[in-house]
């Protein structure tokens, strides 16, 4: 049975229909790369999955939690699926450790002591145990992104959505973040990632989704999608990148 079920999802901004009937099932433990031209709707799709955007039609379910616009449903959904952003979005007024501790304490009412222990484990997991007391502006971009990953993990999500999480980083910092993601993938985390790192997608992902004009244009294992694209659009896209 699939962990994430996306059925006939449509999304418009005003007159502009950005998602035109998306269907996608993601199994637990699967790692999926979403590729496609700028404006093809990749970010919008991810944002719909954890309710940052409302959908006009269709349905999205994550482990039984259905996307609906009210706070109760959104909360249930977001407890199952975390998100990492291109711009890190750490809370600048809190230390790395406090960033990781905040949501478990506030949302799940975990005690401070437990939250701190959990935060130390999570920061260790992303190789930043020694930065527990550092503020975000004392960290490099790569370190900030790893803290953001630790923060999402502390909520124990079943799946993680990653939207171009290395695009804002200097090239020399990309690999430290990708290494963390790769380790997560190996440990069985379900991942949906929009990425421009084709080599990474080829190495780590189980399936690649090529989006074009608001539709899933091609989908398949990376060997097939990259080596043997079926459509002219994908051939053109791969030729460019």
């Amino acid at each position: 049975m699939s962990l994430i079920t996306i059925t006939e999802v449509r999304k418009s901004f005003g007159q502009n229909e950005v998602l035109k009937g998306i269907n996608l099932d993601v199994a637990a433990g699967e790692v999926i790369a979403i590729i496609g031209k700028s404006g093809s709707g990749k970010s919008t799709l991810l944002r719909c999955i954890n309710g940052l955007e409302t959908i006009n039609d269709g349905s999205i379910t994550v482990a039984g939690a259905q996307l609906a616009p009210d706070e109760v449903h959104l909360r249930a959904l977001r407890l199952k699926v975390g998100m990492i952003f291109q711009g890190f979005n750490l809370f600048p007024h809190l230390t790395a450790g406090r960033n990781v501790m905040l949501s478990p304490m506030v949302v799940k009412k975990v005690s401070q002591k437990e939250a701190e222990a959990e935060a130390r484990v999570r920061l260790e997991q992303v190789g930043l145990a020694h930065k527990f007391d550092a503020y975000p502006d004392e960290l490099s971009g790569g370190q900030q992104q790893r803290v953001a990953i630790a923060r999402a993990l502390a909520m124990k999500p079943l799946a993680l959505l990653c939207d171009e999480i290395t695009s804002a980083l200097d090239p020399e910092l990309v690999n430290e973040v990708l290494a963390v993601v790769k380790k997560l993938a190996e440990e069985g985390m379900t991942l949906l990632m929009v990425t421009h790192e084709m080599r990474f997608a080829r190495e780590v992902c189980d399936r690649v989704v090529f989006m074009h004009q608001g539709r899933v244009h091609e989908i398949g294992p990376p060997e097939e999608v990259f080596a043997n694209p079926q459509t002219a659009e994908l051939r053109q896209f791969l030729g460019q990148s």
Partner: protein, 219 residues
């Protein structure tokens, strides 16, 4: 006619200035509390609450404080509610202050990047939790200088309450002038007292603002 020494004038003004200070502090505290509620309505995701808060802010910002004072002081008795000058002064200054503070604070909240809301949303926080733990702590830092700066307007605003007979610094100055026929001296001293009250406030607002701009560290 009794003779007034300079000291008599100054000491009487200083005694009256206590009421200016007290009224300013109370109006500021009351205005801050009501302002927080208005702020919450203004940014809550309920369109009708937003509209109500907007109307409130526009009403109080778009009419002179003097009219608000008159309406409360003369209007409420018409509806059978007797109000003392004290109460009228306190209520109108509180409402007036709350509208301005709510608007100042709204600007601070809106200057917090959208990514902070999205990140805290994706961590399953509710609107109230996002405000309480993520947005307001950051907005508060930016809000301090303009808030302190606005307190100067509150102090100066209290002068208007002399018109409905509340004896604070301005009213006392008028009374003393009527007895001494030395308007220049009396109002000069009164102005000096206002300045001594307001200058540290506006100066510290400036300093706080500069410190905020220099500080790269958020702690």
């Amino acid at each position: 006619m009794t003779q007034f020494s300079t000291w008599d004038i100054v000491s009487n003004l200083l005694l009256a200035a206590r009421w200016t200070v007290l009224l300013s502090i109370l109006a500021f505290i009351g205005g801050g509390a009501v302002g927080l509620v208005v702020l919450y309505c203004r940014i809550a995701r309920k369109p009708w609450l937003q509209r109500a808060a907007n109307l409130y802010i526009e009403l109080f910002q778009g009419t002179p404080l003097l009219m608000q004072l008159f309406l409360i002081f003369f209007g409420l008795p018409l509806m059978g509610l007797d109000v003392s000058p004290w109460a009228a002064a306190f209520v109108s200054l509180t409402l007036w202050t709350s509208a301005f503070l709510a608007e100042i604070w709204r600007g601070c909240v809106e200057s917090i990047p959208k990514g902070q809301w999205e990140a805290s949303s994706s961590l399953a926080m509710s609107f109230f939790e996002q405000l309480r733990y993520v947005v307001l702590p950051q907005a508060l830092r930016i809000a301090v200088p303009p808030t302190v700066g606005f307190s100067v307007q509150v102090v100066k605003g209290t002068a208007l309450t002399s018109i409905i007979g509340f004896v604070e610094l301005s009213k006392a100055a008028t009374i003393i002038t009527n007895a001494t026929f030395e308007p220049f001296t009396v109002y000069g001293f009164a102005a000096l007292i206002y300045f001594v009250l307001c200058w540290p406030l506006s100066k510290s607002s400036q300093l706080l603002e500069r410190k905020l701009n220099v500080a790269h560290h958020h702690h």
